[in-house]
Symmetry: C3
Subunit: 353 residues, 3 copies
């Protein structure tokens, strides 16, 4: 496949600077792209490389120096490059139907152009949308519903009655709808509280590999539209995650916590249960959030405090031994001075105590 | 199904206050329960809602105000509600036998009323108890034994020679008996130490999704009776976990550590190897435990210290920059005073140095 | 199987002290080994037990007191014991071929003496080396290549186009080659950046259970020769891990980070993206590494600082409340002294201000 520079500019919502008719058939970085390929400049740090790249064209923002290169001017060169990458690398989806070695239960509804690979097991009453791909060894329990254009990778489990929206991608080994971790104390032992809710994954969510999302005790654990979840993340029962959130690998969110929209959790973050994290809040990696977070806050540390305050205190942490020593010495010096002053007071002629 | 209030009271070991003959056919929260349903009051904070609930009856403790409602008086309303939830929501188990697409090796012993789903693979010499459910794509390696009433969810692996007790539930994707992480240094490289022990999961244990429990190097990794383990937990080789412990998501326990009974580990806790954690100890989330913990201790932080001491120090942590500044200024002030005192001493008439 | 002491010594590259002809048929610890078995002394702490062990022979280092026992003298008794353990416990591998219930795609190349268990799915164009074991329910996507003597345990997924070297062992549920976590912001939403690179696992690597290794965005995520990775570890896209590294359970390495050779990461460590960790560096458990690490450094804490500095500061952390109180009191005392000095200055006869 190749496209004219003008065709690419139209696709990206940008405009051409240079020859709109040159043909582009692939892409690369400023260093790796060659003849017939397009590259991009997103980080001003690399602006100088535009002059030396062997690429036939460059995607850049309005202000950038094109060094006389053919270019496409766009608002967001990084996004534009991601779209070109999709254009040049995606292979057309080929529906294989239900393959030999797949197992389909009773009362199952299937959309068109589906691919169901060997080893995949679809429980009774499941509803599968159009253009769905179920890679090998996926398990859908009874009553699961999948929207259109869903991709579930090998080894994914979706438990009874859970709902997956349109265009959702779930990577290998991820578990949707396992029982929430709920027990009532009975003497020294633990009585299992039935977890009879479900999980709802809204449209355009992507979930990484070996993630766990527990079903609600009574109602719904919900992952909002467009949210992206990295590998090995834990989301406990009854959590409600907003839209367009980003949850980095190995983060864990305890039961009934609520995240607003566009929240970012760094890797290995822990969010305690029953709290609310406001829209656009950002929690830096490994932090432990123990209470509500206002919209837009940027927190770090355990317990989490404002990020900049945390950096300042962390910078002083290595000096604690020296501070303690100074403090102790200062105590001794002050005692000495106090003594001197008392002495002095006594010795000043005519002074009354 | 419906039951009289008296029948429910008998089941819960409580007594009726009000009409023992009214019929109950379901349950809900103080807000959601309606006509013909029962609700509960566990948290005194919500006592006022007993007056306004639309439920036909309320489970409450002896002291609580029933506001004239029909009620069941029990010692522990939360536990009672969990038991009612089980009663009203559990569906009768339906044994499916060995389904088409399941694979059973040689010399396998099977109990009665089992369900073995498609894609599940049972190795040679495996022993399966009565009323066991193996969901799809489970793998039991050679020589595994499962007790009665065991449920293994889709994608669970149990490695060679491991033992699972009665009434154990293991959620999707969990791995029991993978090799312990043991190597001997050989120059700059690592020589694999054979891991020839096994894992024993005792009765009434429940293990979440995508958990890993490694087999022992030589002897046994043991999870004690009644212990509950959340998702994505790591338990290393030769660990011995006591009875009725609670281990929250993403916690990790290093090799040969021993937990007593009724220990609680918060989410993302790390326990180093070869230490002992005493009965009833509680470790708060994200803590790192570096040494033995006495029975009943409550620790937090990394390295873990008593929880209250940790809270006090953590509250001061954000003030470190200000403390350091104060300390430095105080040093200057003391120097000045010292100078003054030396001066003064010299100037006091008749004073000898 | 039994062997003479001399045969064992030859195998270990050691020499016999005592009777080279006695027969050994197994092994145990200093406490558990009995007649006909060999044991080892690695830790000088247990030297006394050599006198009392019931073992027929002892592996020890040159300096150690054999208490008149038959022995094998080696440079590294622990390594020697690991090798004896391998010798006495490994069972001969039995190739089963492609078993019923396995699914093999088109254009697949298979080596000799392979074992492919039921439920395993091999995609089109996959290349499998000699003596490979694929346990049940493994999934190999299109174009995967496996070297010789590879073992993939049940539930492992290897995604499209990834390469696994010789003698690699991957434990249950691990995912190789899931998409890297890469998105470009598009307004408030996230546009998925195609992840078109792959993963290369070099020779002699061992990877634990439920690990995730993401494919590169454009090039290669690489795990170097001989590196050992524990359970539930996350390795993000474009990471390059050196040779003979040890990565303990639940550690996470963010995108494009580079580890040198023989690096050790403790459990639950986090490495941020785009940094370099030098050869032989050691990062203690739960640490968060935010910047480059020089070769040989030993770091701990979040943000990570030199381990010993961290221990010293951590020891003072519990004293922060007391330090703050002391600091405040000292401020009051200094103010008082300052006042006294000013007073005194005024009162000293003849003194000018």
């Amino acid at each position: 496949m190749d496209k004219s520079l003008q065709e690419l500019a139209d696709l990206l919502g940008g405009y051409v600077s240079g020859d709109p008719l040159i043909r582009i058939r692939g892409l690369g970085t400023l260093e790796t792209a060659g003849e017939g390929e397009i590259t991009f400049l997103a980080n001003p740090k690399y602006a100088g490389k535009v002059a030396t790249t062997r690429a036939s064209a460059v995607v850049l923002s309005a202000g950038a120096n094109s060094h006389g290169r053919h270019g496409i001017i766009v608002a967001n060169p990084y996004l534009a490059f991601a779209k070109l990458l999709t254009l040049f690398t995606q292979r057309p989806r080929r529906a294989t139907g239900i393959m030999k070695g797949a197992h389909v239960g009773e009362g199952v509804t299937m959309g068109e152009e589906i691919s169901v690979h060997p080893g995949t097991v679809i429980g009774n009453g499941v509803k599968v949308g159009h253009r769905v791909t179920l890679h090998p060894n996926v398990t859908l329990y009874e009553g699961v519903t999948l929207g259109d254009d869903v991709t579930l990778h090998a080894g994914v489990s979706v438990r009874e009655g859970c709902h997956i929206g349109n265009r959702v991608i779930i990577h290998n080994g991820t578990v949707i709808g396992s029982d929430g971790f709920g027990y009532a104390p009975e003497g020294n032992s633990w009585y299992k509280i039935p977890q009879i809710g479900c999980v709802v994954i809204e449209d355009d969510v992507e979930i990484g590999a070996n993630v766990t999302v527990d079903r609600a005790a009574l109602e719904v654990t919900r992952i909002g539209r467009g949210t992206k979840i990295d590998n090995l993340v834990q989301i406990a029962h009854n959590c409600v995650i907003g839209e367009d959130c980003v949850i980095v690998a190995q983060a864990g969110i305890a039961g009934s916590a609520r995240l607003g929209n566009h929240v970012t959790l760094g890797g290995q973050v822990a969010i305690v249960g029953h709290i609310t994290v406001g829209d656009n809040a950002m929690i830096s990696g490994q932090s432990g959030v123990m209470g509500n977070v206002a919209a837009g806050e940027i927190l770090s540390g355990t317990p989490a405090i404002p990020h900049h305050a945390r950096l300042r205190s962390a910078a002083i942490f290595p000096h604690l031994p020296e501070m303690r020593k100074t403090l102790n010495r200062l105590g001794v010096r002050v005692s000495k001075v106090e003594e001197e002053v008392v002495h002095a007071r006594r010795e000043i002629p005519g002074r009354e105590t």
